[in-house]
Amino acid sequence: MLHRLVILFAILVGFTQVQAEPLCVKNLDGSPFCLSQPAQRIVSLAPHLTEMVFAVGAGAQLVGVVDHSDFPPAARTLPHLGSYHQPDMEKLLSLKPDLVLAWHSGASPAVLDTLHRLGLRVWVSRGEHIADIPLELRGIGILSGHSTQSTQAADDFERELHQLTQQYAHARPVRGFYQIWAQPLVTVSDGHFIAEAMRYCGIQNIVGTTSNLSPTWSEEAVLRARPELILTSPPARDFERWTRWPELPAVKNNALIILPPDVLMRPTPRMIEGIRAMCVAADQVRAQHSE
C-alpha cells in the first residue's frame, strides 16, 4: 500500500513539474517563446533548420519541410511545402503543425503574418551568424524535447570553434577571397557566416565590410588586393578565370581551392567541416611562404 502511494506521489510530483515548467526559448527580440509540451508536429521553413531538427534527434517529429531540404537524406521524403520564401499555406495548415520553425531572412513577412494570424506557434530564428548555430540547436532541442542531445551537439560545436580560435589566434593572417558565383562575380563581406568562417582560420577577407552581405564585386578590386588564397564551393563555375593572372599570389601559390560541397552554404553544425577545410587551405599558404 505504501509502495503504491509512493508511486502515486511520484507521478503527481512529476506531473506538476511538467505543468509548472513550460519549455521556453527566446524570440529574436528577447521575449520568451514557450510551449507547454514538446512539439510533436514540426514544420521547418528553411533547409538549415531541417538539418538542425535532425541533428538534435527530432527528425521523427518533423512533418513538413521546404524545397532544398536535402540533408540528411531522410528529409527528402517528408512532405514538401514549396519554396522557403512562399510556402504553400494550405498544405502547411493541413499538416496541423504544433510548431513552425522559420528563418528570419527566409520567409516573407507576409507569410509570417499569415501564420500568426492563423494562430500557429512560430519560432523565428536568425540563422545569420556562426554563433547562431549553437543557439538554434539548443532552442530546437528544448522545443522538441531533445535538450540532452541538443546540448551535446551545441557544446561539441562550440568546443571545436574554441579550439580553432586558439589554434589560429597567432597565425599569420592570409589575404583571402571567397567566390560564391562567377557571373556576376559575387562574394561575401564581413558579417556573412562564410566570412566569419574565414576569420576563424586567420584568413583576412579582402572584401571587408559592405552594406550587402553578398555583394557583387569587381575583378579589378580582387587583383589589386592581391589575395593569397581564393576559395569557392562546388559547383566551381568558371573558377579557372583566375589563372589568367599568373602574377596573382593565389595563382602563384597554387591556392585556388574548391572546398567540400554543401557544408559551407548553410549555417548548420556541418559548417565545422567546411571551416576545417578552409583552415587546411590557409595552412598550406602559410607553409609555402615559410619555405
Binding site: L81, Q86, D88, E90, L93, S94, P109, A110, D113
Partner: protein, 325 residues
C-alpha cells in the same frame, strides 16, 4: 437601341463568368475540397473552413479588386491619351510604388511599412506628374504622356539599381513584388471598396467619355466640360492604379488588355465597356492567381507572370476574329 441588347447580354455573361471564377478560386487549392454536407469529420471541415475563409477568400477578393481597378484605370487612360498602347503604368505610378515597396523590403521593414512605402511612392509619382504636366494653362495630351513615360523610365532605372544592390535574401521578395503577387495582399476590403467607389464615380461620365474619344474639339462643341472631365478621369485613374499596385504589386498587362478585350466584346460604348472591362480584369487576375497557386503546387508562382500567358492568346484570338469579320 438595337446594339444595346447584345452589349447587355455580354455584360450579364461576364458577371456570371466572374462569379464562376471566384467560386473556382474558393474551391480549388492544394488542400482537397471538402463539401460541408459530406464532411467525414468535423475536424476536416473546420480545417477547410479556415483555409477558405482565412486564406482563399481574402486573396481572391484582392485579386478581383486589383484586376478591376487596373482595368478601370486602363480604360480611362486609353481614352485620356487617345492612345491604344497606353496602360495605367504609363504614368509612372507603378514605378513610384515599386521604388517605395522595394526600398521597404531592402531595409527589412515590416509588412505594413512595405504597403505604406508603395502607397507613398505611388502618390509621390502621381503628384509629380500632375505638377510637371500642368504647365501654364495648356494641358496637352502629349505633355502628360511624355512626362509620365519619362518619369516611369527614370523610376525603372532606380528599380534596377535597387535590385542590383539587394542581397539575395531580399531579392526574391522584390522580384515577386515586381511581377505582381497576391500572397501578401493587405486588407482586400480597402481595394474592393475603392473599386466600388471609383466605379460609381466614373460610370455617370461614361457618355461624356464616349464623346471624348472622338476628339476634344468635337466634345467641347457638344457641351462636354473637357478640361474638368480630363482632370477627373486622370485623378480617378491614378487613384485606381495606386490602390491596385498597393494591393497586388505591379501586375502587368491587365490594364492594357482588359479595356481592349471589353471593347472587342461589347463595343466602344463606355456605359458597357467600362463595367465589362472591370469584370474582365478582375476575372483575369483571379484566374491567373488560381493557376499561380495550384499549377505546380506546393511551389507558388507570381500571378502577374501568368496574366500575359492567359491574356495574350485570348486577345490575339479575338483580334484575329475581328479582322476576319
Amino acid at each position: 437601341m438595337t446594339s444595346l441588347r447584345p452589349s447587355a447580354l455580354w455584360l450579364a455573361l461576364l458577371c456570371i463568368a466572374s462569379l464562376l471564377v471566384l467560386l473556382a478560386n474558393l474551391a480549388l487549392g492544394s488542400n482537397d475540397w471538402v463539401w460541408p454536407l459530406f464532411a467525414t469529420d468535423d475536424a476536416a471541415w473546420l480545417m477547410q473552413k479556415t483555409i477558405i475563409m482565412e486564406l482563399r477568400l481574402p486573396r481572391v477578393l484582392a485579386a478581383f479588386a486589383a484586376g478591376g481597378l487596373l482595368a478601370l484605370a486602363g480604360t480611362l487612360i486609353q481614352v485620356l491619351t487617345r492612345n491604344p498602347l497606353a496602360d495605367p503604368y504609363i504614368l509612372g505610378i507603378s514605378g513610384g510604388a515599386a521604388v517605395g515597396a522595394l526600398l521597404a523590403i531592402l531595409l527589412g521593414l515590416p509588412l505594413l511599412m512595405q504597403h505604406l512605402g508603395a502607397a507613398s511612392g505611388a502618390f509621390a509619382a502621381l503628384l509629380l506628374v500632375i505638377a510637371l504636366a500642368r504647365g501654364e494653362g495648356a494641358w496637352t495630351r502629349q505633355r502628360l504622356l511624355l512626362t509620365g513615360v519619362v518619369l516611369a523610365s527614370a523610376l525603372g532605372a532606380v528599380i534596377t539599381l535597387l535590385l542590383a544592390l539587394a542581397p539575395e535574401t531580399s531579392l526574391r521578395g522584390m522580384l515577386f513584388w515586381l511581377m505582381g503577387d497576391l500572397s501578401g495582399a493587405p486588407a482586400p476590403w480597402l481595394a474592393l471598396i475603392g473599386l466600388g467607389v471609383l466605379t460609381l464615380l466614373t460610370l455617370p461620365w461614361a457618355r461624356d467619355l464616349n464623346i471624348l474619344t472622338r476628339g476634344e474639339a468635337s466634345a467641347a462643341s457638344l457641351g462636354v466640360a473637357v478640361r474638368e472631365l480630363r482632370w477627373g478621369a486622370y485623378v480617378l485613374a491614378a487613384m485606381a492604379t495606386a490602390l491596385a499596385v498597393i494591393t497586388a504589386g505591379s501586375i502587368g498587362f491587365v490594364g492594357l488588355l482588359a479595356p481592349h478585350l471589353a471593347r472587342l466584346l461589347v463595343g466602344a460604348d463606355h456605359r458597357f465597356a467600362l463595367p465589362s472591362a472591370i469584370l474582365l480584369g478582375g476575372s483575369l487576375v483571379m484566374l491567373a492567381d488560381l493557376l499561380a497557386r495550384t499549377l505546380i503546387a506546393p511551389q507558388q508562382l507570381p500571378a502577374g507572370a501568368l496574366i500575359a500567358l492567359i491574356g495574350a492568346p485570348l486577345f490575339l484570338a479575338l483580334l484575329y476574329r475581328e479582322g476576319k469579320a
